[in-house]
Symmetry: C2
Subunit: 315 residues, 2 copies
């Protein structure tokens, strides 16, 4: 786990940046130390007086109960189960802390500083290693009863489909994610038409026993003309678009903002995504939905965490 | 179309009832006449002074934009497209009118007078001729940008599945609804194990050209031991439960209230529904979700419309 931090003003300008390595697999206290270290180096670097800070925002890669400030679980590491990260961190640095999961933080970031400015109801879709959404309703983040709203990636779309990381079968995320792309690449590597991908894997895969094929290699191969890689991206995009259609059917927002690393995969993925959205959405609703791509890009994590602080502590 | 009306007090007591026949297929003005007739007969019967009325609530069987008071469309009848029913009716009777679709009205009814009292976030699932949900967030009905939130019945669950009434394929409603049950019954009528259902159809189907097999006949046959009818109800219930799992994954409400005529189909349908909810919901969320059946039953339409009036005009 990497702790990426930034000092952000009310207009969304990043005034300072800092990155610290931490090993979340070991102990939550190590991660807290890394966050504190990031925070202190930002404060020192910027020479800003602590009394000018509104708070510290934290986007956590795992299930969280944002309103309660609790990490529910992270990648099945038992140390993180029901961990009161917000309050422990807040005590350490004597500042208010706002905590939520990645997708919710990103939703708030695009809503306040990015593509979602001025709308009432929107969803932010994380289309990267995983697939999930953050929901803004009436201008506020909606997280549900225990904070797990927006887990669209683990909605089943193919009852007899492939096994997902969550233990269920045929989830959207089993196709529409970096994880899904890696799985499909591994399964289809021996097919005719996968020449470029096979060459790339043979050249780069250090440890053959690992057998993981990063989604980036599939994107690269698709751009080089590899037919199987192109089909894999089309499948991922198509199922991602089925997810978008579910958002429109169930939540009828004004706007969907699609972000995450896979947006960079370009038209191989995004065209089938939009086609699936159109195909699977009722005619009454589909003419009204706007789809935009993120505008904050790689800064969205930092800006979203800051946006969450301003939303939480300045209203 | 039948106009069912009631006079309801703030505690949810139905003080008077009235039913008027109208033919929605003809003209919206005929339906308005029937609503006015229902309203006037209730007023006359109850001898209540009009000045004591808060308003008239209306649950409409079609797509509506509740906050705008508009019928978007109803069963593809062009006369209803973008019809400003609320304001036209309000002018006729000189009373505030609250309008929304069936599922939303029912959600508000169970929230105010029934199984949902005291919760913050809940969904009401209509499991009857169709399948759809009404969403309560922070104690208020949520209808989205143009009023079409909650169209869960037309979320695709089987991309190559059977044709749905909406023109798309493999929607939840193509299985989990009276319409879906009728379709499956028609397709499986010649199978071994469908003896009772076949006999019932032969005895009751007046016009063989119509070929519609009501869901009630399937329920009756299942209860008489017909194996195919039992399997059909199990399939409908299972897909209905997949829909419930989507609700939990996306909205993480405290409570789901399941209502509608198919609840009366009993365990053949409801056990597979609960099994599918359990199977397709992530472990983090499923232990926290409560599922209840409606408590207002056949009165829910009238009580929901009344609840909508109190929610809209007394806050």
């Amino acid at each position: 786990m990497k702790v990426v931090g930034g000092l952000v003003d009310r207009m969304g300008n990043i005034l300072a940046r800092s990155v610290t390595q931490a090993h979340a697999e070991e102990q939550p206290s190590v991660v807290i130390d890394a966050i504190v270290e990031t925070y202190e180096s930002l404060l020192a670097e910027s020479e800003i007086n602590k009394s000018n800070l509104v708070g510290l925002g934290l986007g956590f890669p795992g299930n969280t109960n944002g309103p309660a400030g609790i990490v529910l679980e992270s990648s099945n590491l038992p140390d993180w189960n029901n961990y009161p990260l917000r309050d422990l961190l807040s005590e350490r640095i004597s500042l208010p802390v706002a905590l939520d999961n990645d997708a919710n933080i990103c939703a708030v970031g695009e809503y306040r500083f990015g593509a979602g400015q001025g709308v009432e109801h929107m969803c932010y879709v994380t289309f990267s290693t995983g697939y999930g959404i953050g929901i803004i309703i009436n201008g506020q983040i909606y997280t549900g009863q225990i904070g797990t709203a927006g887990e669209l990636g683990h909605v089943v779309i193919d009852i007899d489909g492939p096994l997902c990381t969550c233990g269920k079968r045929g989830c959207i995320m089993a196709y529409a994610s970096g994880i899904g792309i890696s799985r499909m690449a591994y399964e289809r590597l021996d097919e005719a038409g996968a020449d470029h991908l096979r060459q790339l894997v043979a050249k780069r895969q250090q440890d053959e026993a690992e057998k993981r094929i990063p989604a980036e290699w599939v994107v690269e191969s698709a751009q080089q003309g590899d037919l199987v890689a192109q089909e894999i991206l089309q499948t991922a995009g198509y199922y991602g678009g089925v997810g978008l259609s579910m958002i429109v059917q169930v939540l009828n927002p004004e706007l969907i903002v699609v972000g995450g690393g896979l947006v960079k995969a370009g038209e191989w993925l995004l065209e089938p995504m939009m086609a699936a959205l159109y195909e699977h959405t009722q005619v009454e609703s589909r003419d009204f939905i706007q789809v935009k791509y993120w505008v904050l890009g790689d800064d969205l994590g930092v800006l979203g965490a800051a946006a969450q602080v301003f939303e939480a502590f300045e209203k």
